[in-house]
Amino acid sequence: MSDTSQGTGGVTFDQTKRSWPSEMNVLLALVIIIVVFEVLGQILPYMNDQSFLFDTRDRFDTIFNEARIKIIILQVAIIGIIALGVSQVIITAGIDLSSGPLVAATAMIAMSFGQTELVNGYANPKALFGTWAMDLPVVIPIVIGLSFGAAIGAINGIFIAHFRIPPFIATLGMFLICRGIALWWSAGNPISFPTAQYKAIGDGMMPVVWFLSLAVIFHLIMRYTVYGKHTYAIGSNEEAARMSGINVKRHKIMVYMIAAMLAAFAGVVLSAKASTAQAGMGEFYELFAIAMAVIGGISLTGGRGSIIGTVLGAMVLGVIRSGFTYIKLDGSYQLMAMGGIIISAVILDQYRQRNRA
């Protein structure tokens, strides 16, 4: 050891000596994927020299194809909100499969308190409750939706932390329960015609605004607060965290609650964007959210990864989706490509883990 420590005392603090952050790999992958689509656009005969990312036709005042970039982010924003929470769960070495159905259940519940009484002068044809639930201030459906999410998350957390049910099983059960709640809430009927205020939550680029602001908030929380530090500590070594005096059970419940509240909020935004809530909404969202986290470098064994990584992982999925549409290959290819990328991300993570110890 004496040969690795320099000088007297041997204690050095060298900020420059930090290792290559895993986010850089994701960024690199993102750039490579964009370049591939850009090149494909040039060489595929039916593409007529279009550009994937650049504005070749001068439709906008910028060099980039703004419309495409907006669409890329917009289509991953709502799942991205879920991914922010799932990332925290995975950092504790857990998993949350319940988020997709929770999106649907929350969409139904929240929108049933966010409907408007009169549609073009006629009574709302999709009204679930009486007039008492009509035209309420928008905070009411939001608070109800988030409280529902918090309750579901608390149940997940209690089963996992106190009854030691494996997270996979506990949240798989909750997956079915939430889908059931979504169907039961209005007996399978869609709930539509929200108030203008409610609609505004998901209007235009609002989902992106929510996603990016929540990403910034949770990035700061994970990096600079005790909550974040304990989340990483639990995922690194749960026993050590407990021996160090961290209340592991309480903390895990909090993590699952925050994750579920983020999924619930995604449900509110999704229903606002679609102006309707349906029991089948959010299908596969939990899996895409997990994929974003994993592609972004969040290790399934816990303890490692960051919110920045997850945001980049979301961008990777967005670019792939948009890129396949751009080169006019349909959804089936998209799914296959995404599957391949998810597996590669996990392989890369395991490779990194093996090479460090």
């Binding site: 005392g9 603090f13 530090k229 160090s244």
Partner: protein, 258 residues
């Protein structure tokens, strides 16, 4: 229970299902005393440590700390009461760096009104870590390295620095020098001597006879979960201790215990 004792256990017992890992241990140590616990693998030494630090709940028996009976519901309670422990498993979070581990569970924070979202005072923790490492003479090339990237000895140094950085009423070290090189072992032994000079009591679990003979006042021997000897280092020899450990001998007051 008497106040002159730092730690006193009466009939301390721990069963893991059918495994009687600890059976009726009556242990006591006086203020300023350094006591070693010796015994073969599986004798119950670490189990004893886990019971008095609240990591596990004992099956029965009483524990008194500075004369007051205590029932620690978890490791945090024990630490708040002033017990600092180097566990045999080290209890480090692999993906965190040195300051994070030193302050895990008792972070220096700012803006405490934010509750669980209070801010970490990274700079203060880094400075305290540097000071703590300097004080204990522990050498770690880069404190921003994660524990996963450190050698076994360096990890052990971090765990030891963690206890030595904080003032305590009782320090417990469970095989602190097991993975250490010659220099580092000497360093840890110096830390222990510093504690002795400061009058801070210590329980040292060790298999190293020379170390124990050099450092402590009293040797307790465990065998198959029972305390079988309580020896004054000045009135005993290494061979003597070995014969207690192997079971060739049992202390007179412990006849019939094992």
């Amino acid at each position: 229970m008497s106040e002159e004792f730092v730690l006193q256990t009466v009939g301390l017992t721990k069963h893991y299902g059918g495994v009687h890992a600890l059976e009726g241990v009556n242990f006591d140590m006086r203020k300023g005393e350094h006591v070693a616990i010796m015994g073969d693998n599986g004798a119950g030494k670490s189990t004893f440590v886990r019971q008095i630090t609240g990591v596990e709940q004992r099956t029965r028996g009483k524990i008194a700390f500075y004369g007051d009976e205590v029932n620690f519901s978890g490791p945090l309670d024990a630490r708040e009461a002033g017990i600092e422990t180097v566990f045999q498993t080290l209890a480090l979070a692999d993906d965190l760096d040195v300051p994070d581990n030193l302050f895990l569970g008792r972070e220096k924070t700012k803006w405490d009104f934010l509750g669980p979202f209070r801010l970490l005072d990274y700079r203060a923790m880094r400075e305290a870590t540097m000071a703590g490492l300097e004080k204990t003479g522990v050498k770690i090339p880069n404190i921003r390295n994660t524990i996963a990237n450190m050698s076994g000895g360096q990890r052990q140094c971090v765990a030891i620095a963690r206890t030595a950085t904080f003032a305590s009423k009782l320090t417990i070290m469970d095989e602190p020098t097991a993975a250490l090189g010659v220099q580092e072992t000497a360093q840890v032994e110096n830390i222990i001597r510093t504690l002795k000079e400061a009058g801070e009591p210590l329980i040292l679990v060790s298999h190293n006879m020379r170390q124990v003979m050099d450092l402590v006042d009293r040797i307790i021997v465990f065998r198959r979960g029972r305390m079988v000897a309580d020896l004054d280092v000045n009135a005993t020899s290494g061979e003597d201790v070995v014969s207690y450990i192997t079971g060739a001998k049992t202390g007179t007051e412990f006849e019939g215990a094992a």
